[in-house]
Amino acid sequence: MYFTVPSSKNKRYLSGFDWVMGVIDHILKRSTCSGNASQIVFELDSPVESADVENSLNRFLKFFPVVQGRISRDLNLAPYWRFPGMTHGNGLNLDVCHLDSSTAQTSEMSLMREWVNRPFRDEQDHLSFHLMYTKGPKTYFGMTFDHRLFDARGAESFMHLFQENLHDNGTIHFHRDIRMTASADLSEWKDKFEAGRHLNRKIIALSKTSLKYIPVTLNHCETKKSFQFMLISFNEHDTERIFARAFEEAGYLMAMPYFLAVAAQTLHELFERKALPADSYIVPVSVDKRSSGDIRQELFFNYASMFLFQIHAHAVQDRRTLIRDIKKQMYEQIQSCFPENLLKAAALLRIAPVSFLRKIFLLPFEGKFASFCFSHIGRCSYLSPEFMGAKINNLFHMPRVPVPPGIGIFFNSYNGMLNVVISWLDGLVGDDDIGTVECNLRKMLCGK
């Protein structure tokens, strides 16, 4: 028996995974300087006019009052995103800066770091835009986004839509394609409870082993901590070789298990020094669960789920065994519908407020979610080679990571070039440690 609670035009029921993103936002706001935000950055080969960017963004955003929404809940069990009928003027959040001294990557990165660590202005502010002019022609454009509004592919797609409709003047009809409503999903309870039972068994089984993690110290009296980032980019030639090696070692199309194995091996040395002795690593890996081939239909909010991988610390050194084990776990989780069960079970969580769920989330692993975070965005949804007339040299993401674990490695490709971004909570590890991780990562990926 199916029934759908009708959604009004300015109300969008949140899915279980959207609610999980809300819980992580709550956890991050409590423990660090900002919430569950990420950032998409374009490195451009020439400057773009800031006034043009401002006008175009203003014009574009007028079509999307959803970006000024906030979480709400009536007597109904399901929380929803309530947004105004039309955008109102709290203004475009665009800041422009000029890098006047050195153009070294560290300075550029430190500014980008400030962008993503800056909290949004209020509960209805979920996007901020940034332009950075360097001493040379190279220019950076960044969009910081609240993960409650978009997932990473949604953010790429949003920027692609902006670029695609750059020259349309208020006559655009693209918004018709975007699905803005969703069912409250308050049916099929038995199915959801069964999914929850399967999920619970898996989590209990995982929680029986001791988890390797780097202890996080959060002093709530001091200034709340921000995140640090390191970007490692590979040119087309190196990227081609890296993927050839991945397919050779892990099998055809097996890039994700290969990169996860490399990430685990790279971080193992760091964990051996920083973490307490323990049996295994637990790594959540997000997977895209869009039901439509056209990403525009599922642009706003989150359409992802997760795998949970367990990597035995004693088996990390042997790459061949490690890859085989990761592939086996991926196969078993797909066969047992783990990502789908997680989504169904998460729908049940919506009944509880985020503050309560924060405590529940921390229970199974005694306060530690995972050893580190990992993702690999296989397909880029920003399909244009340029942004506002400037050629794009590179496109990468800078996600803030849930705390704990407070550290993550993220892979994405743009235009045949692989990027790896390491994200970590300030003070969790030192610059020397990250330098070693970078060096090992380059060695392992390039086989040098």
Binding site: G251, Y252, M254, M256, I334, G378
Partner: protein, 80 residues
């Protein structure tokens, strides 16, 4: 099942995994050009195992068998 029927069944399953129309899934294109990543690939394996009652893990699959849907259909046809 004939190889053509196997191919049609594969196209149907892969279109569903990729959330695409069956008409946009070409049987002679390499799988990566269809937009299949590692998760999609494993989903295809599971779909084949369930649909054709085959144990692919225990079979002698090579990279060549997975190059296109057409090649995959030929492999399955030999296994049935």
């Amino acid at each position: 099942m004939t190889p053509k029927e196997i191919e049609d069944t594969l196209i149907k399953g892969i279109a569903s995994i990729l959330s695409k129309n069956e008409s946009s899934v070409a049987s002679d294109l390499p799988l990566h050009q269809l937009g299949i990543d590692s998760m999609g690939f494993v989903e295809i394996l599971v779909y084949i195992e369930k649909t054709f009652k085959l144990q692919l893990i225990e079979s002698d699959l090579t990279k060549k068998d997975f190059e296109t849907i057409h090649a995959l259909a030929s492999f399955i046809s030999k296994q049935l």
